[in-house]
């Protein structure tokens, strides 16, 4: 694929986020999230790590791609925008139809970046526990209108009616087409795209993992390390392949249900570092026997919720907005309504964000809180001041003195809305 001469779209940086736990699957290892993670928290984890390396980046657009949106209707990109702190200045859009949408998000990001740069592209998948080949993970990319560590070019695309996996309204699970016919149609579609493309190196096919792998082998592709180490990552899969191959010239093709699309990348300075980091994430992890249990709150667990309260307090909740007391200099979280609880200074106080790393000063593992399992609770003295008191992620325990960080998770679904909040996790 030859980049059109009038575009300088490029990838500035990217982050692959995979849960540490890997389940052995029929085709390799599958990354397996905790029960309190979903596409929003996984996507946020990838994007927060990415934005930490680019504190001055102010994304003008946020494109989310996921086939496992937490909200089937009503939007899942808003909580992601809130967590990332871009809620008040971003064009946000989400693509949720097929795994191809990850690559579509990158393509759209490249186009948007030409006028307003950078664009944050996030693709996330929460698939483990369902499809045996599926894993959990997310990719976040910063896309620029003016170069980066890799040049980006949009290749040919098709939209044929060629059903592989789909779901009608009300279907509990996916319907699937006959595998050998799917394979044949897919190969034809991919070959057609390749013929339309002017050239390029490295071939990747995606979606309907096993079939795509066969097609890829038939076309002489490099083999799918993402599938082998993380499982099928849905819409995050094509972007994970983009990232791990970013240090070579490549054409990544995503194909799903007749939607076929090619994106080319060309390495520039810094590409090796980004690709190596992604490959290290792929190779990391610890092998575990069983997927995480499903989160099932017991009957009668119905936390109070108010949508007005949630909106009003979204700064403290999604972004850990705290306040610094001008009297005693303490960081106060949650920000008090009135006077400082330490020195009684009335304020006003400037907003300051609670740090996301700190040290455990006390903790418990609560066996009676009706959260569906033993609930770890910890009090953390945050770096930079202020305290956090909340849950420990379900796959870990912490002890007094441990270095920890706050990670975005689902707390519960009280009142029928997904309540995102921060939980305590040991520093890696």
């Amino acid at each position: 694929v030859t980049p059109p001469p009038d575009t300088d779209a490029g990838i500035l940086d990217g982050e692959l986020h995979l849960p540490f736990r890997r389940i052995i699957t029929g085709t390799g290892r599958g990354a397996c999230a905790d029960p309190d993670e979903d596409a929003v928290t996984l996507g946020a984890s990838a994007a927060l790590a990415l934005l930490e390396r680019h504190p001055d980046a102010r994304p003008a657009a946020l494109v989310l791609a996921t086939v496992t949106p937490p909200y089937a209707e009503g939007g899942s990109v808003q909580p992601l925008a809130e967590i990332l702190g871009v809620q008040d200045r971003v064009f946000a859009v989400e693509l949720t139809s097929t795994p191809r949408d990850g690559l579509a998000a990158l393509r759209i990001g490249g186009s948007l970046a030409a006028s307003s740069s950078p664009v944050l592209v996030v693709a996330a998948h929460r698939g483990s526990g369902g499809d045996a080949e599926a894993g959990d993970g997310a990719v976040a990319l910063l896309v620029s209108g003016a170069g980066g560590v890799a040049g980006l070019s949009a290749g040919p695309a098709r939209a044929e009616e060629a059903r592989e996996r789909w779901r009608l309204p009300g279907d509990a699970s996916l319907r699937e087409g006959d595998a050998s016919a799917v394979s044949g149609r897919m190969e034809k579609g991919v070959r057609a795209v390749l013929e339309q493309a002017a050239g390029g190196a490295g071939i990747v096919a995606l979606a309907g993992l096993r079939v795509a792998g066969r097609v890829e082998r038939a076309l002489g592709g490099p083999g799918d390390a993402v599938a082998a180490h993380a499982g099928a990552l849905g819409a995050a899969h094509p972007l994970a392949r983009v990232l791990v191959g970013l240090d070579r010239e490549q054409t990544v093709i995503a194909t799903a249900n007749g939607l076929v699309e090619a994106v080319g990348t060309r390495p520039m300075d810094g590409a090796t570092e980004v690709a190596s980091r992604a490959r290290a994430v792929l190779d990391a992890g610890v092998e575990a026997d069983a997927p995480a249990r499903a989160w099932a709150p017991p009957e009668g667990f119905a936390p109070y919720q108010s949508l007005s309260r949630a909106w009003r307090e979204r700064g403290a909740e999604f972004r850990l907005e705290a306040a610094r007391c001008p009297g005693c200099g303490r960081v106060l979280y949650p920000p008090p309504a009135g006077a400082c609880p330490s020195c009684a200074h009335p304020g006003p106080r400037a907003v300051e964000h609670l740090g996301r790393t700190g040290k455990v000063i006390t903790e418990t593992r609560d066996h009676v809180y009706p959260g569906g399992a033993v609930t770890g609770m910890a009090v953390v003295e945050m770096d930079g001041g202020g305290r956090f008191y909340g849950q420990v992620i379900p796959s870990e325990t912490v002890a007094v003195g441990d270095r920890v960080r706050l990670v975005p998770r689902v707390l519960h679904c009280g009142g029928g809305v997904i309540q995102y909040f921060w939980k305590v996790s040991r520093c890696p």
């Binding site: 418990t364 609560d366 009676v368 609770m377 305290r387 849950q391």
Partner: protein, 394 residues
Amino acid sequence: MPIAGEVAIVGTAATPFGVLHDRGYLDLLAEAALGAIADAGVEPDAVEAAWLGTAEPTLAGLVGDSGAAVAEAIGFGPRPVSRVSNFCCTGMEAVRAAALDIAAGEHRLVLAVGAEKMRDVTSRGSLLAKTANQTHPTLAKGRSAPGQFALLATRYMHEYEVGIETLARVSVKNHEHALRNPKAHFRSPITLEQVLAAPRVAEPLGTLDCTPTTDGAAAVVLAPVEWARRHAPRYAVIRGFGLAVTDGYFSTFFHEDEDFLGFRATRAAAGTAYRQAGITDPRAQLDVVECHDCFTITEIVNTEDLGLCGRGEGAALLESGATTAGGDIPVNLSGGLQACGHPVGATGARMIAEIVDQVTGRAGERQVAGARTGLAHTLGGPGVISAVAVLSAP
């Protein structure tokens, strides 16, 4: 006039504490209220006003936001009745409100009754469901009452290098004390091994480190000391009454001032009560103490906050035997919350009644010989509210 030195307690009563399937909320309330009035040697008609302490009336299926249950339970005519609530200090708060009523000169004989029916629902459907379902949906979500006090246990054990066995000794001691209290929820001795082997509730605390979920009611009748002197068969004088509220329900654990080694609210409330009562050396001047042992760690830090020993010395005080029956400063001779249980609204009234009975020589097998001055203490929420009353013989 002030409460201290001017307000007397002239009648006391308590129902048995336990899982009382055969009695409803109004039955318990009536038994305690009428018992205290009879104990004061007056007719119900002579009582001019009442204050009700109930923290969670909805657990008993009541509307709950009023004192009307007193009128309903004992036919308490058209008289002023109000309900008060202040976390686990609710029972003490009813007594304090009645004392203020007397001190204001508004009424001469006032009933304070605390009642709580917690076991018409399962124990987990009681306060636990409240903390899980009510209050803020994100901040500190995952907390439970044992989980909050477990944070102190963890920190205390870490800071002072105290073992879990020390905490367990509080439970062993108070269950032993309860053998002499016919109204206690639990009246069986337990061993250190049993406490340590019990299933964990919120680590490091196990089931036998925790107060059970209990039904019960207790009541006292208050009057001016001047009235008591002339009419009461016997009475105790309130020498000091402190109440301190330091923070909200869970927000205190977010504050950097919180050291997880004790409770500022108790230190403040005790400071007020001691100043009013002229107590400068609590261990020497007090003969008997009822304090809020909702969890084993709570009693240890309370003894420090009440000034019975220095900070960090509560474990040593316990292990010295000083707080055991026969010791120089016996704590929770009733069995405390560990063995009596903790019907939230009733507890403070029960403690006041217990100390009044001690300083009037009516504490039965639990009686501390010659006891003249005693203290009752409750702690509310995760330690953000504390009430301390010092009572003595006239």
